[in-house]
């Protein structure tokens, strides 16, 4: 599995000032650190613990996560589309991995 592949979905046509739903998915195993292999070895914790959402230069949403978020985390939230700017989502995991993706929001 490729770790850190991101998909962001926003509506196709956006009116200026409209509150739009944003959906994002990232591939990540999200290991809890509690699971064990068959021979009793603990699988080390490996999960995304920090998510930042930027709209232009402004940080609009931030998540503090623990291992209790499901594998391949899906998030959905709203955004007030009042300017033409990129929407960037940055995921960071506990092993120092940084994954990011952006889409252009261009309201008409």
């Amino acid at each position: 599995m490729v770790v850190g592949r991101i998909k962001i979905r926003v509506p196709g046509t956006i009116k200026k000032g409209e509150v739009i739903p944003v959906m994002a998915l990232v591939t990540h195993p999200m290991e809890t650190g509690l699971r064990k292999t068959k021979d009793g070895k603990v699988i080390p914790a490996y999960f995304i613990n920090d998510v930042d959402v930027f709209y232009g230069n402004e940080r609009v949403t931030h998540c503090d996560w623990t291992y209790a978020i499901s594998a391949n985390p899906f998030i959905s939230f709203y955004l007030k589309a009042d300017k033409a700017a990129p929407l960037k989502i940055v995921y960071k995991d506990n092993k120092g991995g940084v994954y990011q993706e952006s889409v252009q929001i261009s309201p008409r």
């Binding site: 509690l34 064990k36 949403t61 503090d64 978020i69 594998a71 998030i75 959905s76 939230f77 709203y78």
Partner: protein, 170 residues
Amino acid sequence: MRQEDRGEQEGSGPALTRRAFIKSAGVAGAMFFMAGALPSLVKPALAAVKEENINEVLRRQFGSRKVSMSHVSINAPIIAENGAVVPLTITSDLPMNANDYVKKINVYADGNPEPYIAGISLTPANGKAMFALRIKMRKTSNVRAILETSTGKLYGAIRPVKVTIGGCGG
């Protein structure tokens, strides 16, 4: 009299089998319950997990501040077949303007080894106070959301979710 006696005896036939059936069903039920209860008892012993109580967590985070149980709704399945993926949608009708907005959404699952799952910071740029995510739950328990507004007020909601297969591993 005789007929009555016979009637009772005849009646006792099916009654006995019914009783026996209920008994055996009860035993099977108890075994099923044990099978369900055992993994959750054994799991914490196997993996040395720091167990936390939801009340301690809430006391640490909010002290004695009052949480109003209104304006928040949690949309979650009544029965989650797989505890590893429990979809939650937390919505609130609280305002999202520059002076008064939902600053943070805290998410908890009471039955998890660490009940605090996520803290989501929102800003007025979100337009609506909503966040959807998928969480892992070890066992059947309550899911809680506690929202903090920029004016310092706390709003919350509780929703029970039944879990058939736990999702924390171990």
